[in-house]
């Protein structure tokens, strides 16, 4: 009787693993070991490559004007769409409306997000922390359309908000389909993003630091201003940037809560493609939006660093 059982007596999982191992060695010999990280990154690079290629598609489309005789994009390349985009007052108005709105929403969201994140990180009660987290994730996981739908019900002319105002003898007011309704909806949409970007930065600040500032005579306002805010800067940069760019480019909230009269850039782009069918003009506006967005991101990164947005696990 042999001392060792034959190979066929090994458990199936061993044999499967051995076969996989042999297969892997055949496809990727050990002397290529240095290339393994790139092999692991390749699928992600290819997937994101779809986006990179599609950017070229957009750029190409933006250089072709709409031929009004055939309703087809022109064959030759021209910068005419860009000249038109810069000379049309509507484009400027929509651009300024989006940018101004994005700045206001970012400010309001950060003002609301900081106390929320602070309370969530600092509370001694685990149950309260979980409640705050759930209240944050529920809207985050529900999606924009359903949330905007909720606001339509709540803020409509016969909605709860107007009924409460009615009890106080006020209204009814037209709460929907104006600029402020859009901004309000955007703040609600952005709040979970901002809190989730801010909270890790705040939990990195030891509570003792605040206590130390207090025991050295700083009141709470000064502790916040000189200790907590500077230490939480990466969180504020990350949160502010995410809110700013997502708001600037949002489509659903202005479309639903703005009622068609409060278009942001994304709505203008959509209309160029699907209402006016001027693909070239729509692509031009898209290119301009991508440029403005990347400039903003680059500017903030250059001024403040990548903050909490870094994809690497630990610092550089």
């Amino acid at each position: 009787m042999p001392l060792r059982p034959s190979r066929s007596a090994y458990p199936l999982s061993w044999r499967v693993l051995d076969a996989l191992e042999a297969g892997a060695r055949g496809v990727w010999p050990a002397r290529f070991a240095r290339g393994v990280p790139w092999l692991m990154l390749a699928p992600a690079i290819l997937l994101v490559g779809l986006l990179a290629v599609s950017l070229f598609e957009i750029a190409d489309a933006s250089l072709r004007t709409l031929d009004t005789a055939t309703f087809l994009p022109s064959e030759e390349h021209t910068l005419a769409n860009y000249a038109r985009a810069f000379s049309e007052p509507v484009v400027l108005a929509v651009g300024l409306r989006s940018l101004g709105g994005a700045l206001l929403v970012t400010l309001a969201t950060l003002i609301l997000a900081f106390p929320y994140a602070y309370a969530m990180v600092r509370t001694p009660s685990a149950a309260w922390r979980k409640t705050l987290l759930i209240a944050l994730f529920l809207p985050f996981f529900i999606g924009q359309v359903v949330r905007a739908y909720g606001w339509l019900i709540l803020l409509g002319n016969q909605g709860l908000a107007n009924e409460i105002l009615g009890l106080a003898g006020l209204g009814p007011y037209r709460l929907l389909f104006n600029y402020w309704a859009v901004l309000f909806g955007l703040v609600q949409y952005m709040l979970p993003f901002a809190v989730l970007m801010l909270a890790p930065a705040l939990s990195a600040i030891p509570e003792e630091v605040e206590a130390a500032a207090g025991s050295l005579g700083a009141n709470w306002g000064r502790t916040l201003l000189h200790v907590v805010f500077p230490m939480a800067k990466p969180g504020f940069v990350g949160a502010g940037l995410v809110v700013l760019t997502l708001t600037l480019t949002d489509f659903a909230i202005p479309a639903i809560l703005g009622g068609g009269g409060q278009d942001f850039i994304a709505n203008a782009i959509y209309d160029q493609f699907f209402r006016t069918s001027d693909q070239g003009m729509g692509a031009t506006l898209t290119v301009l939006l991508v440029l403005v967005g990347s400039t903003l991101v680059g500017l903030v990164f250059a001024l403040f660093g990548a903050g909490t947005l870094s994809l690497r696990g630990r610092g550089p």
Binding site: L17, E21, P37, W38, M40, L41, A44, I45, L47, V48, L50, L51, S54, I58, L112, P115, Y116, A119, R129, L132, L133, I134, L138, P139, F141, I142, G143, Q144, V145, V146, A148, Y149, G150, W151, L152, I153, L154, Q158, V187, Q188, L191, P192, P200, S203, A204, N219, W220, T249, F251, A252, A255, A266, Y270, T286, L289, S310, L311, R312, G313, R314
Partner: protein, 266 residues
Amino acid sequence: MREARAKRLVIGALVALSLLILSAPTLVVLGASFTAGNIIAFPPDGLSLKWYEKVAGASDLRQAFWRSLQVALICTIVAVPVGTLAGLALAKHRVRFSNALQVYLLLPFTIPLIGSGIGLMLLFGEAGVLGSLWPVGLAACVINLPFMIWAVTASAGALDPDLELAAASCGAPPLQTFLLVTVPAVAPGIITGSLLMFILALNEFLVSLLLVDARTVTLPVQIYNSIRSIITPDLAAISVVFIACAALAILALDRLVGLDIFLKSK
């Protein structure tokens, strides 16, 4: 101690305001879905389940929901291996050009969604694949991929490199080490990432709006198209499906990895 009280009061008031703003639309949709009346109203005119009955019988809504589920599944199935491999490569290995690579892999976040949507629409249109569902799932995967990579890199920080060395010194070949040691060690990140990818793809709206046609509308697009015409309570009832899915995802996240991981600093 007056100051401590004032601090608690200010923070408490702002948190209460945020809680109200965050929860109001969800509660209103939930409440309105149970109305017995024929118009949408909150508070509802009496309670009934009749709109749920109507939704269960409406084949267009059911099919739209089924398509959204398929999109979410395709997105997750693609994202999990791709994002896990990329996340581990970034976290464990010193890769050359890692700064440029980082900028590149963050493209889905830095390109505005409308840009990604329009670009993919042109690209898929040229390839002639618009009108089927898999491009929508693939698109949802591309635009949210950084979430998956993020989740994995964050939990790879907790991975002790000695574990892999120990496995190797016990005679485990590389693939076996990877499958039986590395991957289980970052499992919390993989679970978090896949849940995020699934739920974000289920809710995905703008890119789907650009990529679907009348035969392939997903549920968020269907709801959007309907609220632009008339708002009936059956929309509230179907929206509750999303609320239920979100609640399930949160429950799973809490049970499997704990919600607290979102508070940890890197």
